[in-house]
Amino acid sequence: MIFNEQTWAELSNGFVYSAIAVYALAMLMYAAETAGRVAGADTVAARPHARSALLGAFGTSLTVLAFLLNLGGVVARGLAASRVPWGNMYEFVLVCALAAGGAYLAFLSKRPIRAFGVWIVAIVLLALGLAVTVLYAPAGELVPVLNSYWLVIHVAAAIVGGGVFTVGAVATGLFLVRRRQERRMSAGVARDRYAASLPAAQTLEQVAHTAHIFAFPIWTFAVIAGAIWAENSWGRYWGWDPKETWAFITWVFYAAYLHAQSTAGWRGVRASWFALAGYAAFLFNFFGVNLWITGLHSYAGV
């Protein structure tokens, strides 16, 4: 069998669709695990139910498999187009889903955060679903202005940063849920069984913090690399193009988060809202700016 561009492109699509199917299964497993955990959650601590733990492990295995399929889809896509596979929005979402899945698995190997699984997988599924339905673009050449090695550097950094920010955002969201529950519990108010099944707020906050301080320099690098590319391509390194503006807004919100984390009275809950605002800005930059706002980055293509 001879692999030409066409077969690579078809193979890539096959991988992506399989990844979606396996991620869907993984989500089912994780959902079942969560349900089991919630049912078994008692007021003191989440004691993993044996069957529920098995489902969770199964969900993780499926997530690994789906991640590998996603990776295969990305690689095949690159071979089909003979370039880095992040030249248009479809590919960009594909790679970002990969990064988010990868970041989750990497964190999972160090911390007990399987409770994130159902959310991460849901986000990844949503992204991949959107990619194949709305954003799909056939593999092809780059428009001339994208033809630069800065595409590799700048976009790759933005994607990795985005993947880790996603884990950070999920951790932050769950932290807020869990934290509220812990407060209420100490006040003797009715408890939320889902929240009770989550890891301790302190653990969640630590994971969120680690993810953010890991992703923030990467994001900073992505912005700087983008500025260098812009200088190389348009003659100015910063021009308040909407994409640049929202990258800046994202950066500033995360900077506010990091500062709030070391401000008495803001640490924890208040700081978390800044992190979520940063993630919202990141998402808007990713989808909103590409789809609704015309700017120099518009050719990134839908």
Binding site: A137, L296, S298, G301
Partner: protein, 194 residues
């Protein structure tokens, strides 16, 4: 897929629209130069030499400023598309004819134009003095270097007998100003000439 090329084209269009806003008027829209020229006379001790100017003329001959050494030369930057150039054209024609007997030479520097349109312009206004073509005027403009007026078309430069910039008018020239400038520069040289 067409949106991709579309964006490129939109951008081009966008940039070009700005071109629209300014092409016609780099010289003219930007402030006071639009209707009245800004006059600047340079004191003898402050004058800087103008580099040699070479180029092709609209009538096909070659121009070399070294052939005009020792004469007062008036250079005028113009284009047939430039509206203020039309208002000053009769002035330039009149002053060039009146000062010819004093040994003053006029040379046009045609910019951002096409030769046919430039010749038609000279024809309409009865301009007799030569003009360097758009195709070769780039070097002429650079020859003025630091002396060239910053904002453009039209602008008129008076070069003294020692090849130094003596005065400039940025924007359209009017008769009284230009003839006074020219005769002043001619007269200041006379003691040394005679």
């Amino acid at each position: 897929m067409s949106s991709r090329t579309g964006a490129w084209a939109r951008r081009t269009a966008g940039l070009a629209v700005l071109v629209v806003a300014l092409t016609a008027c780099t010289a003219d829209r930007g402030g006071p130069t639009a209707t009245d020229g800004v006059v600047e006379v340079i004191a003898d001790e402050d004058r800087a030499p103008v580099k040699p100017i070479k180029g092709e003329l609209l009538d096909g001959k070659r121009f070399d400023s070294s052939a005009l050494a020792g004469q007062v030369v008036v250079y005028n930057v113009w284009g047939s598309w430039c509206a203020p150039c039309r208002t000053e054209a009769p002035t330039l024609k009149q002053v060039s004819e009146e000062s010819e007997s004093l040994g003053v030479r006029f040379v046009g520097i045609n910019v951002r134009d096409n030769d046919a349109a430039a010749r038609a312009f000279e024809d309409s206004y009865g301009i007799e003095y030569p003009s360097i073509t758009t195709g070769t005027s780039g070097q002429a403009l650079l020859a003025f270097g630091a002396a060239l007026p910053p904002s453009a078309v039209p602008s008129t430069m008076v070069v003294d007998t020692q090849g130094r910039l003596a005065a400039r008018i940025i924007g359209p020239a009017d008769y009284t100003t230009l003839s006074t400038l020219v005769s002043d520069v001619v007269e200041e040289q006379e003691p040394s000439d005679d």
